[in-house]
């Protein structure tokens, strides 16, 4: 794609999510969609991280752990230390990234199902730690977390206090989709940079990449740290929306879902996890009317999808350039 085309596509996307969607919601009165779309945006941020680990050839079923760590980091800073939420958001991401470097250095040597399983266990470790550590308030979780406060710069209110807003859902929605747009723009940039190409070489053959002088250990850890950063951001935002966090707020199920989002959208496409999250989440939501048959129909459709599009939804795109 040419730079102008890219710019136009980005502008069109931002216009649709920031203007068209709120307008459509106002017109139809479907206010519940704000939260649903916010969820999709945040989950797709965390899924983007998982996608990046897929990109270096690792199956990551541990993103729930970082979402939980991020959520707790933000909640603890806000509640126990009175830090502004907006400051805790990047801190949560960075804390997760730092933790992931420590964890990643040994475990990134693992491959295939071994890495997948270790990360799966990591999710459970995070939950058990949240239950056992005093700083997380243990089993009783953290409730009544205050809503994000105002951001003022030189006396000008840049972001209003969410607690005073008429419709905080809309505010959360806007913050989340902006974060999502930033996240995917960054990911797109990364994949098309020199580093992205090196990552791709890891996915195909680590030994070969190493033999031609790629520092594979460094590359793996950086990719994993970025991935975990995104997980932490997603988790911190969720804690702010729910105004509560529990050890069970992000579990193995979430970790598995993040991974499924990537599969469904297509592992070869940067925007795969976004589409995958959207379809999986809305698919489930849409089947709400079917009551007790919800899971049955949902899983049948998933199987049908796999049979027809085993390489993900985006493989439908005609004449798609691979790894777009």
């Amino acid at each position: 794609m040419s730079p102008t085309k890219k710019l136009a596509a980005t502008a069109a996307f931002l216009a649709s999510v920031l203007v068209a969607v709120p307008w459509a919601i106002a017109a139809t009165g479907r206010n519940d969609l704000y939260y649903t779309l916010t969820s999709v945006a945040l989950l797709s941020i965390a899924s983007a991280g998982v996608w990046l680990t897929f990109y270096i050839g690792r199956i990551n079923i541990g993103q729930g752990a970082y979402a939980l760590i991020g959520g707790y980091t933000s909640a603890i800073l806000v509640v126990d230390y009175g830090v502004s939420f907006w400051l805790t958001l990047p801190i949560a991401g960075l804390f997760c990234a730092a933790a992931s470097v420590l964890i990643g250095l040994p475990i990134l040597r693992l491959r295939g199902v071994y890495f997948a399983m270790v990360t799966l266990v990591l999710t459970e470790v995070a939950r058990l730690l949240a239950l056992a550590l005093p700083i997380t308030h243990g089993a009783s979780g953290m409730v009544s977390i205050p809503a994000p406060g105002a951001i003022r710069l030189f006396g000008v209110t840049l972001v209003p206090d969410f607690a005073t807003l008429q419709n905080p859902r809309l505010a959360f929605y806007i913050v989340s989709v902006v974060l999502m747009a930033l996240c995917y723009a960054g990911l797109y940039r990364l994949v098309h940079s020199r580093m992205g190409r090196l990552c791709l070489s890891l996915q195909q053959n680590e030994e070969l990449a190493s033999s031609i002088g790629v520092n594979i250990a460094w590359l793996r850890v950086v990719a994993y740290a970025i991935s975990s950063f995104l997980g932490g951001i997603g988790g911190a935002m969720f804690a702010a929306i729910a105004q509560s966090i529990y050890p069970s707020s992000f579990t193995v199920t979430d970790s598995v879902n993040f991974m499924l989002n990537c599969f469904l959208g297509g592992l070869g496409y940067v925007f795969g996890p976004m589409i995958g999250t959207f379809v999986l989440y809305f698919g489930w939501d849409f089947l709400f009317q079917t009551g007790e048959y919800q899971l049955l129909i949902y899983s049948s459709l998933l199987i049908a999808l796999m049979l027809f599009l085993p390489n993900g939804l985006l493989s439908l795109r005609p004449a798609a350039k691979k790894r777009g």
């Binding site: 089993a139 905080p168 729910a242």
Partner: protein, 399 residues
């Protein structure tokens, strides 16, 4: 081989079944207005039993009411329509469920079933004017400034002390041991239980033993606890599915003392899972023991059994929430779409309890625990299991 055509047929069938189910939802009594009551809770996965007994109680009761011509509130007759949402025990989904309820114009929701979900939906419920009835015990949900949650059952910190006191005085219990699943709800309940036991002067011999909730074989968990030979073994917040397994493991290891819990259980599950080993197991229930249950309760059990093939004793407690909602609305029709009216009515509301024999009252309680009336009064029937049935041990009350 699956080819494209057979899969298309499959998808078409899927779509057709979706449509037919949706069509089925609209076949209510056309003459009456519709009153939607929501449910947000878990009806799939390992904890499915909790929410399922909720949903089924509500559906049974609603069908029954509609069959009788609906419910009369302020001169208008309504058919009850239960809207359910499976949150899969995920607090993030629970929020979506509550948003959905708000979108459907629902002001009264039963659920969620667990602590994290109940805490997560609070911002939505308060913003959108929804009163919800969680089956979760954390006090911050019910203590001011929280105002929209009403506890749907008896909390363990209310029933626990009563049970321990009874057992201390009547059965000579001196030492007590706690075992809980390593999850928020059971751990919090264990904490409450330990505090209550200590306050009564009981000697707590084990208060740290936990198990993973997905444990299938509890012998390793219970081996060290049984060795301590406590007089009473408390299974804090035990899931209905795990209770018989724990009981069986403890008894087979030679444990001779009493076993109790503060949650509701199902006699059939205990019978199948532990048989006679479960005899003497003490739990808390609603009103199904023959000494207490009224004819209406028996009729409810009959209808439930007819509709779903098998009754679940947990529903003895869970049948109440819907009746509380409807009776309160009858008492103050303005509350039907204004929860502030509902909250005003809560303080004075009182109606006869149809499910128990005698003079039982439906009223809101909780002042002692929460400082405001944010709990429904369910008779605290402490019962003991014997030969596939529950027998009443004693009946208590919460204020």
């Amino acid at each position: 081989m699956i080819n494209r055509r057979s899969a298309v047929t499959f998808m078409a069938l899927g779509t057709a079944s979706v449509l037919s189910i949706m069509a089925g939802a609209f076949s209510a009594n056309a003459a009456n207005k519709e009153l939607k009551i929501g449910f947000v809770g878990v009806t799939s996965g390992p904890a499915a039993a909790w929410g399922t007994s909720n949903v089924r109680s509500m559906q049974t009761r609603a069908e029954w009411i509609n069959e009788m011509g609906g419910v009369k509130i302020g001169g208008e007759t309504y058919d009850i329509n239960i809207i359910t949402f499976d949150d899969q025990k995920d607090p993030k989904r629970a929020i979506a469920g509550m948003e959905k309820m708000a979108q459907e114009g629902i002001h009264y929701v039963v659920g969620p079933n667990v602590d994290d979900g109940a805490a997560a939906v609070r911002p939505v419920a308060e913003a959108k004017g929804i009163i919800y009835f969680p089956y979760a015990f954390p006090k911050p949900l019910y203590v001011a400034p929280a105002s929209n949650a009403i506890l749907g059952m008896i909390a363990n910190y209310q029933s626990g002390p009563a049970i321990y006191k009874f057992l201390k005085e009547k059965k000579g219990v001196k030492t007590i041991a706690f075992v809980a699943a390593n999850e928020s709800d059971p751990l919090s309940q264990r904490e409450g239980g330990v505090a209550a036991a200590k306050a009564l002067g009981l000697q707590v011999v084990a208060e740290k033993d936990t198990y993973q909730n997905d444990t299938r074989d509890f012998t390793p968990v219970l081996t060290p606890v049984v060795k301590l030979k406590p007089d009473l073994l408390v299974l804090s917040g035990v899931a209905p599915g795990n209770a018989p397994l724990l009981i069986r493991a403890a008894r087979e290891l030679g444990y001779k003392g009493l076993i109790s819990t503060e949650t509701a259980h199902d006699a059939k599950v205990l019978q199948e899972g532990a048989g006679e080993l479960a005899d003497g197991f003490i739990s808390v229930g609603g009103a199904s023991t023959p000494e207490i249950a009224s004819d209406m309760m028996k009729e409810f059990v009959r209808r439930y059994t007819k509709k779903f093939g098998e009754y679940n004793d947990e529903s003895n407690t869970k049948v109440y929430a819907l009746d509380y909602i409807l009776e309160t609305l009858k008492a103050n029709p303005a509350a039907i779409n204004n929860v502030e009216e509902f909250k005003r009515t809560v303080d004075t509301f009182s109606a006869p309890n149809p499910y128990v024999k005698g003079e039982g009252k439906l009223k809101y309680v909780g002042t002692a625990s929460f400082g405001q009336k944010r709990q429904i009064a369910v008779p605290m029937v402490v019962n003991t299991y014997k030969d596939g049935k529950f027998e009443t041990l004693f009946v208590g009350e919460v204020d």
